[in-house]
């Protein structure tokens, strides 16, 4: 038990992301309402984005905006600056998530216009009629 507690404290960030991901995943597969499914997907994406950004952290590292002339003259120690690569990847992932949310909301509005409801089982009923 003591070892497990230490494990949790040392890697608490992963526990937060996994719990967030579980919330999103449950909303995606357990809920019947399509808007709730979409919200679950957004929570899932947030968990993934947080996970990626946290992989770039270096303890004691500075922000990846450097002093141009100092770096040109003296160079820089990479362990003193946090990893910029996950930031770039997640910047693009956020934009994709906005696009996906927009398209999904549009499709949901279209479904509501066709069937008059956003509940999954009611839509399936109306399709089978």
């Amino acid at each position: 038990m003591d070892g497990m507690l230490q494990e949790i404290v040392a890697k608490y960030n992963y526990w937060i992301y996994v719990v967030l991901m579980m919330i999103g995943f449950y909303a995606m597969i357990g809920k019947r309402n399509l808007v709730k499914k979409l919200l679950g997907m957004n929570i899932f994406q947030t968990a993934i984005i947080l996970f990626f950004v946290s992989t770039g952290v270096k303890s004691g590292g500075g922000i990846p905006i450097l002093d141009k002339y100092k770096v040109l003259a003296e160079g820089i120690d990479p362990t003193q600056i946090v990893n910029p690569l996950p930031h770039v990847l997640m910047l693009t992932a956020i934009v994709v998530s906005v696009s996906v949310t927009g398209v999904a909301l549009a499709v949901l509005q279209r479904i509501h216009r066709e069937y008059g409801t956003l509940e999954e089982d009611e839509i399936l009923e109306r399709i089978s009629e």
Binding site: I65, L91, I94, V95, V98, G102, L105, A106, Q109, R113
Partner: protein, 159 residues
């Protein structure tokens, strides 16, 4: 539409002179900040995506405080489509121009043959050109997403 009017007591939601006046004062500063974020992306946190979203948010704010027609009057549908296309075209155009000038696709240092600034300065300036394209595209697409989704494609009255 009817339910919303009832809830607001016969008055349209957001039809308050405090909100309207403060938004009218705020929108130019939001736009200025968006331009600053795009242009200053080399030296501070920022860039095309963030600045584009800030610029788009200013028009969305206008549409929320007044109504959708007002924001369309300030930023017409034609201009919106034109700017979205221009933004995507600036990016791909700069990239293709690099290839035409004899470098690799997206290798901005090849543009040195066009205006001699030095290959490394051109890489810095090429990033700036590309960010402007991204900002334009993101701004217009954000505004058009809001218009379409909030009005259900009717483009007459939004939230």
């Amino acid at each position: 539409m009817k339910r919303r009017l009832e809830r607001a007591g016969g008055q349209q939601l957001g039809d308050s002179s405090i909100i309207k006046t403060s938004v009218r004062l705020l929108v130019p500063f939001v736009q200025l900040f968006g331009l600053y974020v795009i242009v200053h992306g080399h030296y501070s946190p920022g860039g095309g995506f963030q600045g584009g979203v800030a610029l788009g948010a200013s028009f969305i704010l206008l549409a929320l405080a007044y109504d959708l027609k007002t924001s369309i009057r300030h930023f017409s549908e034609g201009a919106n489509a034109l700017l979205a296309n221009t933004g995507a075209l600036i990016y791909t155009g700069v990239a293709a121009l690099c290839a035409v000038m004899g470098g690799l696709f997206l290798d901005y240092s090849a543009l040195d043959k066009l205006i001699p600034l030095g290959p490394i300065e051109w890489r810095s300036f090429g990033i700036f050109l590309v960010e402007v394209g991204v900002g334009l595209a993101v701004m217009s697409i954000m505004v058009s997403l809001f218009w379409d989704i909030s009005s259900g494609g009717e483009m007459d009255e939004g939230l």
